[in-house]
């Protein structure tokens, strides 16, 4: 009765219901807020260092490539505009989300999967504690909060990287660099557009991770599959949603 080709549809349905279940469990309680903040720190701190390092080098390489390309048209002083726009609109949110998936997403999936394998999720259910509310929701919300912050730190480090390369190494004028950013990069479209994207990506990655953790088979191999799936599926989803958001909102 359950056809094989219908299985992906059913899986999508289960993931959707799981999301609704999480959203329905949101309450304005101090306990939930506290646990969300704790998780925001855990997933945020896990990714902070790697994201800052990557951000710095992405900024440097962007500046390098941009200066090389722009110098041909005698427009090397436009470098900050190009770096700023491409960072805020695309590279910042997308690369941060991908790094977050690899660092924090896998940790979330493995943690929940292991809790399932050792019966802790079961134990919660049997204590009349909703594990979706207690385990999945705080991690989901933490992703929603911390990914925009991580994106901001990524972009800040990338701007610094571009400053170091363009001004420090290539000797471009610092005043021109900043004034191009401050007149050319639009706060509404470029900056906030990227922030909204990163909120969406944060929820997407942490939600995917929680879902794979919860649907993991309760074995070692099951947990391993869950972490792999988290990285693969959330990375693909981030890029797909990025395309959809970019084409609809610009």
């Amino acid at each position: 009765m359950s056809a094989r080709w219908l299985e992906p549809v059913a899986t999508a349905g289960r993931a959707g219901l799981f999301t609704l279940q999480m959203l329905a469990a949101i309450r304005p309680s101090m306990k939930q807020a506290g646990e969300t903040l704790r998780q925001a720190y855990l997933v945020g701190a896990r990714s902070l260092i790697i994201i800052m390092i990557c951000g710095f080098f992405v900024g440097m390489v962007l500046a390098l490539q941009a200066i090389n390309a722009l110098a041909q048209f005698g427009a090397a002083d436009q470098v900050s505009l190009l770096v700023g726009k491409s960072l805020f609109r695309e590279l910042g949110p997308v690369l941060t989300a991908l790094l977050f998936a690899g660092r924090a997403g896998t940790a979330i999936a493995a943690e929940i999967g292991l809790m399932k394998a050792t019966g802790q999720i079961d134990a919660m259910e049997l204590m009349a504690i909703d594990p979706v509310e207690r385990v999945a929701l705080p991690r989901f919300l933490a992703g929603l909060i911390s990914v925009p912050l991580l994106t901001a730190m990524f972009s800040a480090m990338a701007i610094l990287g571009a400053v170091v390369f363009a001004i420090g190494v290539m000797g471009l004028d610092a005043g021109v660099f900043w004034s191009k950013l401050q007149t050319g990069v639009r706060f509404g479209e470029d900056f906030m557009g990227g922030i909204w994207k990163s909120v969406a990506f944060g929820g997407l990655v942490s939600g995917t991770a929680a879902w794979y953790g919860f649907s993991a088979r309760p074995t070692g191999a099951g947990v391993a599959t869950a972490t792999t799936n988290t990285v693969v599926i959330s990375s693909v989803l981030v890029l797909v949603i990025d395309f959809i958001m970019t084409s609809f909102f610009t």
């Binding site: 903040l37 704790r38 925001a40 720190y41 855990l42 945020g44 701190a45 902070l48 700023g84 805020f88 909060i145 911390s146 925009p148 912050l149 991580l150 901001a152 730190m153 972009s155 800040a156 701007i159 900043w178 950013l181 401050q182 007149t183 050319g184 990069v185 639009r186 706060f187 509404g188 470029d190 900056f191 922030i195």
Partner: protein, 157 residues
């Protein structure tokens, strides 16, 4: 409880760091606070040709940006281009006989609208129309005019 406090403290540091980065980027690396925001008034100007002037192009007085192009439409009756300009409220004392021209920054740069203030004692207010305008110089027209004139000059003597 001690360990818990440590985590809370670290969570606070992380959040502050993130918010700090957000704020720094917004104020230092975007046009936040510098864009022509809500504090602006709109005037319109008619041109026979706007060239490749685009929406959001800058409006300048004496070469300094004071606003931006909000909207470009074609009047369905006169077939002129109607360009609406948003000008920052700080520049609320621009004379109402100011003229507008569509200019190019550099030889092949972007188009912008340049305002040349007149001498009228009355200031422009929201909804006014600039009556003195000068359309964009289109390179092809310029070249063909030049070639035509040059050819004519040769035949005459």
């Amino acid at each position: 409880m001690r360990a818990n406090y440590k985590v809370e403290l670290a969570a606070g540091v992380f959040l502050l760091l993130g918010l700090g980065a957000l704020l720094w980027l917004a104020t230092q690396a975007t046009d936040y606070g510098r864009e022509v925001g809500r504090e602006a008034y709109t005037v319109s100007a008619r041109f026979t040709n706007v060239g490749d002037l685009r929406e959001r192009a800058p409006v300048k007085i004496a070469g300094v940006p004071v606003g931006l192009v909000d909207e470009i439409e074609v009047d369905p009756v006169t077939f002129e281009a109607v360009v609406r300009l948003r000008i920052d409220q700080r520049f609320n004392d621009v004379p109402n006989d100011t003229s507008a021209s569509i200019l190019t920054s550099g030889v092949l740069g972007d188009r912008y609208v340049g305002l040349e203030p007149g001498g009228s004692p009355d200031a422009l207010v929201d909804g006014d129309e600039l009556l003195l305008t000068q359309s964009a110089v289109v390179l092809e027209q310029l070249i063909s005019k030049f070639l035509f004139n040059a050819g004519g000059d040769k035949e005459e003597p």
